[in-house]
Amino acid sequence: MSDPQAARKLAAPPVNPETERFWKAAEAGTLLYGFCLACGEPHYFPRSFCPFCFSDRVEWRAAGGAAKVYSFSVMHKSPSGPYAIAYVELAEGPRVLTNLVDCAFDTIAIGARTKLVWKPSEGGPPVPFFTLD
């Protein structure tokens, strides 16, 4: 039960004109988050404006890939086998919905250090996941 992703095929994420840049960066192995130059707040997922102050002076910055588990759940009601859904908190601040992959579920804990990994989707860009660090 240590490789839940192996059994789950990933559909290509739907890409739109606003998020195309995010998925181009994903192809290059870079996770982007939004940073507002007006109010200084980071956000995720990145968008064309700041969801806090509504400024459009937003930079999409590269996350370092380090994060800590904010919460998680190991899903057992799954035809393709158990998997771990989680929110991880990026070192840069925002909490990101993801799966914790390539790790033993019984070693996952809130506060545990994680790092970014990419998994291929079917006919689309790679998708960001996290694993225990």
Binding site: R8, L10, A11, P13, P14, V15, N16, T19, W23, Y33, G34, E41, P42, H43, Y44, F45, R47, C50, P51, F52, Y70, S71, F72, S73, V74, M75, H76, K77, S78, Y83, I85, A86, Y87, L90, G93, P94, R95, V96, L97, T98, N99, I110, S121, V127
Partner: protein, 390 residues
């Protein structure tokens, strides 16, 4: 403008079915309408306002109004906030009545998830694929089970809440369901049985989850003049609140729900406090849903929900706050995976004194119906209504 005292819930009907493979979803809406009209003592042509949500098939309110033959409508509202929609609709109906836009408002819900699981949610999978969050959430296998489970996991981490405490919520619901002949699950369960049931999404067990049932319900909300002309006990709407809550750009806090915002608005409008409430209908998609909303509404302090629900405190006649005396979504009914309307219906039964004698709260003159629709783990709509027996 306040809605306090401007409208009354005069009709309430819960469809007795829990499995309806031989009926259509529109047909169930129609049967619920028939039941609510009979309860109120009104006819179809008295209805001049119609409220429905994402479970209404086709072109929503317009398809349903045409199918049902609602020819006198002058107000429609199909606000969709998931399972809480029908609690929110009571508030919206009161607003519309107070503004003179209608005088007899109908709210319906129906669906058949036990017969055929829904595909892609109320607006269809294409609608969700176009949602701004789709690409950033769909790859991760989020379901109501594991998203609510993440709330429970964080709540346990921050406040020391235990699986035993969560189990008490199901135990209390099961004590009530034993007296409801229509309840999907009527057996009384123990804390140990909840903990021994299969793990669905850590830390939630199968018996922490609500039932999946076909069925539906309907409500009739009227003006004071019409209410006084009817023979049924009058249940007055005295406060309502609503609030969406989301992921908030990555600042999501999984330990509270939108009830923390909709609740105080409803209490302020009603001019009452949580300690005044005699009966509480609390949306129970999962046990954790109840615990968080009780805290958020102010029945106990944040983080103390575990202690509050333990030892039977939610059991009618035993504890301080009788809740979901029909057995709730955990045991009785969760028609079309949406529990809002049954929350209002049981509150109306309690205020009328028409709940089962074994669970009827004595002198029940003030009740709350609280719901959250969508997902506490991502984004949801919270709705609160406070009702008073006149």
């Amino acid at each position: 403008m306040s809605i306090k005292g401007k409208a009354y819930v005069m009709g309430a009907f819960e469809h007795p079915t829990r499995h309806a493979p031989d009926k259509s979803t529109p047909q169930l809406h129609a049967e619920c309408l028939r039941g609510a009209l009979a309860d109120a003592g009104l006819t179809k042509d008295d209805v001049d306002g119609y409220f429905c949500a994402g479970d209404a098939p086709g072109f929503g309110a317009i398809s349903m109004a045409d199918y049902l033959g609602l020819d006198k409508l002058r107000h429609v509202d199909s606000t969709e906030t998931g399972g809480s929609s029908y609690i929110l609709h009571v508030g919206h109906a009161a607003q519309a009545i107070a503004a003179g836009k209608c005088s007899v408002a109908l709210i319906t819900l129906a669906g058949k998830p036990r017969t055929s699981p829904p595909g892609g949610g109320p607006r269809g999978s294409s609608g969700f694929a176009a949602a701004p969050e789709a690409a950033f959430e769909m790859p991760y296998g989020g379901t109501t089970h594991n998203q609510y489970a993440m709330c429970a996991m964080r709540h346990c981490h921050e406040f020391g809440t235990t699986s035993e405490q969560l189990a008490w919520i199901k135990v209390a619901a099961s004590h009530h369901a034993q007296y409801n002949p229509n309840a999907f699950l009527r057996n009384v369960v123990t804390v140990e049985e909840v903990l021994a049931s299969p793990m669905i999404a850590t830390p939630l067990h199968r018996l922490d989850c609500c039932v999946v049932t076909d069925g539906g319900g309907a409500l009739i909300v009227t003006s004071p003049e019409i209410a006084k002309s009817l023979k049924r006990p009058r249940v007055k709407v005295i406060g309502a609140g609503e609030a969406p809550k989301g992921v908030h750009g990555g600042k999501i806090d999984l330990t509270f729900s939108g009830a923390a915002w909709s609740g105080p608005k409803a209490f302020a409008e009603a001019g009452v406090a949580p300690s005044d409430i005699k009966y509480a209908s609390i949306y129970d998609s999962f046990t954790i849903t109840v615990l968080m909303q009780l805290e958020d509404l102010g029945f106990c302090r944040k983080g103390e929900g575990g202690k509050f629900v333990a030892d039977g405190n939610l059991i009618s006649g035993v504890g301080k706050l009788p809740f979901n005396t029909d057995g709730g979504g955990l045991c009785n009914n969760h028609p079309t995976n949406r529990g809002g309307i049954t929350k209002v219906i049981e509150a109306v039964r309690q205020l009328r004194g028409e709940a089962h004698p074994k669970v009827q709260v004595k002198n029940c003159d003030l009740a709350i119906a609280q719901g959250t629709g969508g997902s506490l783990g991502t984004r949801h709509g919270s709705a609160t209504v406070i009702l008073e027996r006149e």
